[in-house]
Amino acid sequence: MSETFEDQTFDLAPLLEILEGYKDQKGAVIPILQRTQEVYGYLPKPILKEISKRMRIPLSRIQGVATFYAQFHLKRRGRHLIRVCDGTACHVKGAMKTVDVIHEQLETPPGGSSPDYKYTLEIVYCLGSCGLAPVVVVDEKVYGQTEPDKLVRQLKRLD
């Protein structure tokens, strides 16, 4: 069994496994969505519909929860998440320059993904490491005092 959305085909088997675990639990929308996002990388619409149908949770309620929390993503994400800090210190140190260069050279707009879904770029506000400004976090790795061109070279080397 599978569903297709935005040219992607999703295998439903892992979803069914997740849902099985919450079968008798009421009000488990958030953990279901978290685990689903872990598997699929984001929350594709057909998957939400499937959750709604199988768990008998109204779709609008799921959509409400998924859009309320910043942790959930409704659009397809790249394999690597680039978070550029634009808090006060990083901003002063030229964070937006980094954003522009990533946008230009990796074709990844802020809040969006590259056409090949290799990167997703997010602007965040203060990662609490102002001493390292400008800070960029790629996946789980922190890059301090970044220089845009060097960072892009490093990013290109990722899988």
């Binding site: 309620r61 799921i62 859009t67 309320f68």
Partner: protein
């Protein structure tokens, strides 16, 4: 005992109750506290901060809508601090609101506008970013303008707590938050059913009925409270009229059944009243004007004539037919769409003027088996309980053969509310995956036509576990031992084999039924439209007696009647075997009563049913048919055969508002009027009699049906050719009614269960459920309390009998038929409602994905469905709503009506056709 609390509001001491909010207590005592997000029909939300009040010894201002009452509260509703806070909230709301009140539809009916006026808010104070959402007018019913939304969440709560599908929610956060549908789609792509409850509660112009755009301000409209003309639930609606046009429809807030809410048809489906197809001039066939005879089945061309000519022809032909062939050569079809008064007159026309009991109507095709079955088991054939007690008190709902949310939507909503809000258990037994299944604890998906086996199987398990109500059985019933002996032949392994329901589901269902009380049984056509219809009903009566669920609130047998006034049409004697109030025509006593009242001899011979009259026309036994607002070409089984019969009938009068599918087979057409153009009463499914008030002047040229019937009767009475003597000294011989209330006076005198149904009472706002024994009696919400109408309830020993036509090699699939939410019966009304037709524009045939694959179908392919009687072609809807091996079709569209395929195999007692099962073959069409 609920504890009282004394609280002081604005210096006034009042007695409030614990459990109330400050707002509720204030409202009850007529103290005004402004609100935006609160609505009396919805749970409090506390979102808008407009109802803030100052409560002494509270640190901050408190929302009255959520603050609970307790002893000694001292509250100020309009202190300077409160006024300042309200102004601030309003200023902020208005700062992001289009100030276009001059052209806004909601002007005059907008809480925000009222409050801005009250608090002097102009919108100058705060300037900031404003939203600019695109207006969504893409669905036929509701315009969504999010720029006017104040995020009060009334619509969210209405969809959750009133409708129950929860199609609406708030998406995103903060300034970006907006009201959305489904997975952020349009309304029509979400689970929305367009009941319009969201529109009803919206305090601004954010959700607005499309049909009303530009048609008038709320204060320019004349408002008339009446009863919806679609289904038998009996919702009260308010027609809002301007220039003799219905421009808006809303629910009546204090209506006993619907409390201000409706379904899509009731709210948005009334524009058929103004459709260009309305008949405005009587028509007769040319041969009738030339005094000649008809050439065989060719009826020739129509000529428009004046009323006198048409009525003269009708009365002359009816007299001629009776004089030549006898009274029983005339058949009359009365109408479940018309008022009680009109049905009473049709019954009087048949029995007094014509002298026949050949009168029937579409109740034959829907609940005749219920009426017959319950009469045998209990002595009275109506819904035993009230919608209110059933939906509020049943611990378990057993819904069998009723697609409640689509066919009786407002009751369906209430079942969903019971499941969601008070954890009532729902068991659905239906061969289809109907929408209610999503709310059910159990779904018993039995094969069509195996209801008796299923019910016997459940009762077997109830008995085996000792869950039966022994006291009830001993004190109030008879025939238990014989019944038990038969039920013992239905162990789960046998029943599972016959029905296809897994054994463990049978056990679970029986356990729920046996260990929860009260349980209400609800059914409709899925039970009745079988050759075993009467036995199906009696099996349900057995079940409720076995469990002791009769005569108590939250229990009972609850057949949901189809048409708005099908209950009333039966009550008024629109049946071949009974006078009004079910006085049998075979009873000498009743015959004497009506002969004396009407001044003419009465026939004691039971007349023909509609399913007998129509075939009798082909056999030459029925020579003339008088049809009032019925459409047998759409509603009766085996359309091709019906056509042949009507073609053969010598003289057919059709009184209707449209040129229906039956009209080509009529000789005379008499234009009647819709429910909005006349007054009278309708009786709903729970026996509640409600006033229908005239909202429009009749369309020019058309006449109220009761007046037409009076004209026909008076002409026959006055004709020198009339061979039937009527004693005009008899108290109710005359036909000189000036208004419908005078007809009701006559009904009061002759129909004991309507004795106390007085217009003065109805006009005062009283509504009551029959029997209403006299003018002081308040009616009877629950039947069979303490004693059945027949004395003891009768258990019946009933064996499973297979359907009359089962699949075989040539016709390997089962066809079941029915309706959909957006249409109504033969579609005469709903196909002429622009919005309803737009949202469901063509017939669809439901096919299971497995069958679709086997047949080589995909989403867009058309199918041909063929039975032994006919063939239709329509688009397939591939869905697991149906079982494999089964297809489902509706009878709303003449181009592919299910009734071309259905057959006229009849229940031997009730003569109801088996619409729900016949054998068909299905092929893909290139």
């Amino acid at each position: 005992m609920i504890e009282k609390a004394t609280i002081t509001i604005d210096g006034k001491k009042i007695q409030a109750r614990y459990g109330q909010t400050v707002l509720q207590a204030a409202r009850e005592h007529g103290i005004y506290i402004p609100v935006l997000c609160d609505h009396p029909a919805l749970p409090p939300e506390g979102a808008c901060r407009i109802c803030l009040v100052e409560i002494e010894r509270q640190r901050t201002l408190q929302p009255a809508c959520t603050f609970p009452v307790s002893e000694g509260l001292v509250i100020h509703t309009h202190s300077p601090k409160v006024m300042e806070a309200r102004k601030f909230s309003l200023e902020l709301l208005i700062s992001d609101h289009p100030l276009d009140c001059m052209t806004c539809e909601a002007t005059g009916n907008c809480l925000l506008q009222d409050l801005a006026y009250e608090y002097g808010i102009t919108g100058d104070r705060y300037q900031g970013e404003k939203h600019s959402y695109a207006i969504d007018a893409s669905n036929p019913f509701i315009v969504v303008d999010r720029n006017k939304c104040i995020l009060c969440r009334r619509c969210v709560r209405a969809c959750t707590y009133i409708n129950g599908v929860e199609a609406i929610s708030v998406f995103y956060r903060g300034f970006n938050a907006y009201i959305g549908f489904g997975a952020d789609s349009t309304m029509q792509d979400s689970p929305c059913e367009f009941c319009g409850s969201c529109v009803e509660v919206c305090p601004t112009g954010a959700l607005w009925p499309k049909m009303t755009l530009g048609k008038g301000r709320p204060y320019q409209l004349q408002k008339v409270q009446t009863v919806c003309t679609y289904c038998g639930v009996g919702c009260q609606i308010e027609l809002q009229v301007r220039n003799n046009h219905i421009v808006n429809v809303v629910g009546v807030e204090n209506a006993p059944v619907n409390q201000g809410f409706t379904c899509v048809k009731g709210r948005f489906g009334n524009d058929f009243v103004h459709h260009a197809d309305r008949l405005t001039k009587p028509r007769v066939r040319k041969y009738l004007l030339e005094g000649g005879k008809r050439a065989g089945k060719e009826r020739g061309e129509w000529i428009e004539v004046d009323w006198d000519t048409a009525l003269e022809i009708v009365s002359r032909k009816l007299i001629e037919t009776r004089n030549t062939y006898g009274s029983d050569a005339v058949g009359l079809l009365t109408s479940a769409k018309c008022t009680n008064e009109e049905n009473y007159l049709m019954n009087k026309l048949a029995r007094q003027i014509i002298g026949t009991n050949n009168i029937d109507h579409c109740a034959r095709l829907c609940h005749s088996s219920t009426v017959a079955g319950l009469a045998i088991s209990f002595g009275s054939g109506a819904m035993s309980n009230s919608i209110e007690d059933v939906t509020q008190q049943a611990k378990v709902f057993f819904v069998i053969g009723s697609n409640t949310t689509e066919q009786h939507p407002v009751i369906g909503m209430k079942i969903r509310q019971a499941v969601r809000q008070r954890d009532a258990i729902l068991i659905v037994a239906d061969p289809r995956q109907i929408p209610l299944v999503d709310f059910a604890t159990l779904h018993l998906q039995h094969k069509p036509g195996t209801d008796i086996a299923l019910l016997n199987g459940l009762m077997y398990l109830i008995l085996k576990n000792g869950w039966e109500d022994k006291d009830f059985i001993a004190e109030r019933t008879e025939g238990f031992e014989e019944f038990k002996a038969v039920v013992e032949q239905y162990p789960p392994e046998v029943v599972s084999e016959i029905t296809g329901v897994p054994q463990e589901l049978l056990h679970e269902a029986a356990q729920i039924m046996g260990t929860h009380k009260p349980m209400a049984v609800i059914w409709a056509m899925g039970i009745t439209q079988h050759t075993t219809g009467v036995y199906n009903v009696m099996s349900l009566a057995n079940l409720q007696m076995l469990l002791g669920n009769m005569g108590i609130p939250g229990g009972g047998v609850n057949p949901l009647r189809g048409q708005n006034n099908v209950q009333g049409a039966c009550d008024m004697g629109g049946l071949p075997n009974v006078y009004p109030a079910y006085q049998p025509v075979t009873s000498e006593e009743a015959a004497k009563k009506f002969s004396e009242a009407w001044g003419a001899p009465m026939s004691t011979k039971v007349g023909m049913t509609v399913t007998e009259m129509i075939p009798a026309a082909k056999e030459g036994k029925i020579k003339a048919l008088y049809i009032m607002a019925e459409d047998p070409m759409m509603s009766d089984p085996d359309t091709n055969h019906v056509r042949e019969c009507l073609e053969a009938c010598e003289f057919v009068v059709l009184q209707d508002i449209f040129y229906t599918e039956t009209a080509p087979y009529a000789d005379v057409l008499l234009p009647g009027v819709s429910f909005a153009e006349k007054s009278g009463t309708f009786t709903n499914t729970e026996r509640r009699i409600q006033l229908v008030r005239q909202a429009l002047q009749p369309l020019e040229g058309a006449r109220p049906d009761w007046q037409i019937l009076c004209e026909v009767a008076n002409r026959i009475l006055a004709s020198p050719e009339n061979g039937r003597k009527v004693d005009n000294q008899a108290p109710y011989a005359h036909w000189d009614y000036r208004q419908p209330s005078e007809i009701m006076d006559e009904i009061n005198a002759l129909a004991p269960s309507y004795a106390g149904v007085k217009y003065e009472r109805l006009q005062r706002g009283e509504t009551f459920q029959w029997p209403v024994k006299d003018e002081h009696h308040v009616g009877t919400p629950i039947l069979h309390v303490g004693k059945f109408a027949r004395g003891l309830g009768k258990f019946a020993a009933i064996e499973h009998i297979p359907a009359a036509e089962l699949p075989d090699e040539a016709y390997p699939m089962i066809l079941s038929t029915g309706r959909v939410l957006y249409h109504w019966h033969g579609g005469e009304l709903s196909r002429r409602s622009q919005g309803l037709l737009e949202i469901y524009p063509k017939p669809l045939i439901e096919v299971h994905p497995e069958d679709a694959e086997r047949l080589g179908l995909n989403g867009q392919r058309r199918v041909r469905v063929t039975s032994r009687r006919g063939s239709i072609v329509a688009e397939a809807w591939i869905t697991d709503r149906v079982l494999p091996g089964m297809v489902y079709a509706n009878f709303h569209f003449p181009e592919a009506s299910a009734n071309v395929l259905t057959h006229a195999a009849l229940d031997p007692i009730a003569k109801i056709p088996e619409y729900k099962v016949c054998a068909v073959k299905v092929e893909a069409v290139e």
